[in-house]
Subunit: 316 residues, 2 copies
């Protein structure tokens, strides 16, 4: 049994080619090879905890991931999000690895899913990347998009000036030309590859600003109450993609759009089905596409396995 | 953050007075102070995994416990049951301790619950202790009963001769006078404090053999399909006690007895209510009492906290 600290995990991550690893997870999920029970949830006064767990049949491991969000943690100089992953052997139930990643692997696998959505759905000619939100996930999403498009022009919106400015500063150091806006409608007006990563509970982007040839990946809404996109955007889209149809019907943008009567359940396809070619991704530069990513345990399973396997082959 | 191995945990256990610790958990549960979501379950080809988790309000910690049973493990020289407990801070979500107990704390807290049931429900004059089953839990239950009764005379039943004989040998070394039987009806005929700890799916004890003044603690049945007691035994009992009424209505002996029409839902009381005195335990030497213990996350919370707190005050 091995125990890995966040530092050890961080040291391994750059050696992993995560796009195919996470893509394989989405494929397994959409082919029905994954066993992913409903998310466990523990609500506390100052935060909430989610337990995601499951396995891919005939694989070596199962994974239990614990992730928490404690909203006052900033006061104590602590990260809001935290977590760990546990890897067990499918054959015997033996605990194989404790990955004390403090939520880092969840952040990374979420950003990689954004890159996968962009790879299959973004227009070939990206004029400008639009980022809604300026937190950790907004940073990671942009960094991971670099593999999916040559575009380095970015427009970022955030509610606060200071956050936008810090984002511009940090992402410029990664080779992006970042402009800032305080007008959220400018994102849809000026950008055609957009990622939303806020905890908003009311739509930030409106259908009136939507242009042909746009792709939006919505990452922020992972509960039944959060929402970043006007439901009419999903209604207008030519292709609406879920990481998990079952999960997106009960949480996230798709849930909101179906509830609002903008979208029919039959008009949703799954990201894994696009990855393995059962359903085409973007077919036309004028198409409007939306990917709703609520986070599925197969992503955790895949990244935990990859980190563990890299560790046992490289560690003494 | 501390990580404790099974050896370190074993070294701490003898210093803990576990009966009042686990009693406090049952009291918190029955007073409605505990938040205990439904058990998470992952079913695999060779085993199953249960995730029990929760917290007591205004306490310092929450606990997530992972326990597995892999039924072919004997072939590989591994224990069938396994597990670990994770202790987090309620205020910040920080992981405070990883207790790599390999299922030992679950075994112990289950045995302690048996001792608590006997403390409040067993007759004062125990003629002979009856043990149904001869596995790990059958050993631990008997050892923990030593604090609840001065009786050291034991009758054990198990399906196989070798298991019974091994049990007799092992428990004699702990100061018990153990006799064996291959006739399960002898347990109810000769004993008036009985613990059942088998994975049976059909009743082992029948109402025809039931005598006044008997207490039975049923520990084995923790799923909707397992059953050790004839439902009519619960119907005949003067007092039927659940560790958790909510949980016992969907799994274990009470579930079976209610389903079979032997027991009304309103005729079940909770162990915690007896511990804090809201409901009397045994009031008369002739009463027949049954306690159904399916295992509640408050037991895991209490034992994990106690081990961790003892460790941080004694470790360097």
């Amino acid at each position: 049994m091995n125990i890995m600290t966040r530092q050890e995990i961080e040291a391994i991550l750059p050696s992993l080619e995560l796009v195919p690893i996470i893509e394989a997870g989405f494929v397994a999920y959409s082919k029905g090879w994954a066993v992913v029970p409903p998310v466990g949830e523990l609500l506390l006064d100052r935060g909430d905890v989610h337990i995601k767990y499951g396995y891919i049949r005939h694989d070596d491991y199962y994974v239990i991931k614990i992730a928490s969000g404690f909203y006052d943690n900033g006061r104590y100089g602590l990260s809001t999000s935290n977590g760990l992953m546990l890897l067990f052997r499918q054959q015997t139930g033996e605990l194989q690895s404790v990955l004390l990643d403090e939520g880092r692997l969840t952040d990374i696998r979420t950003a990689v899913a954004g890159a996968i959505a962009a790879k299959h759905l973004a227009p070939t000619d990206v004029e400008r990347i639009g980022i809604v939100g300026a937190g950790i996930q907004a940073r990671l999403q942009l960094q991971h998009l670099a593999a999916a498009t040559p575009c380095r022009k970015v427009l970022v919106w955030d509610r606060t000036d200071a956050q936008r400015e810090q984002y511009r500063h940090d992402m410029s150091a990664h080779g992006f030309q970042v402009e800032m806006t305080g007008e959220q409608q400018e994102i849809l007006r000026q950008c055609n590859l957009i990622v939303t990563c806020t905890p908003a509970t009311e739509p930030l982007l409106q259908v009136a600003d939507l242009r042909p040839g746009t792709h939006i990946t919505a990452v922020g809404a992972d509960t039944p109450h959060k929402q970043e996109l006007d439901g009419a955007i999903l209604g207008r889209a030519d292709l609406v993609v879920a990481d998990s149809i079952a999960q997106c019907l009960v949480r996230g943008e798709i849930h909101q759009a179906v509830k609002g009567g903008f979208l029919a359940e039959g008009n949703i396809v799954e990201l894994g089905s696009i990855v393995y070619g059962a359903i085409p991704g973007r077919e036309d530069p004028e198409q409007i596409t939306v990917a709703d990513l609520t986070g599925v345990a197969v992503q955790d399973i895949q990244i935990a396995k990859a980190v563990y396997e890299a560790a046992v082959t490289t560690l003494p």
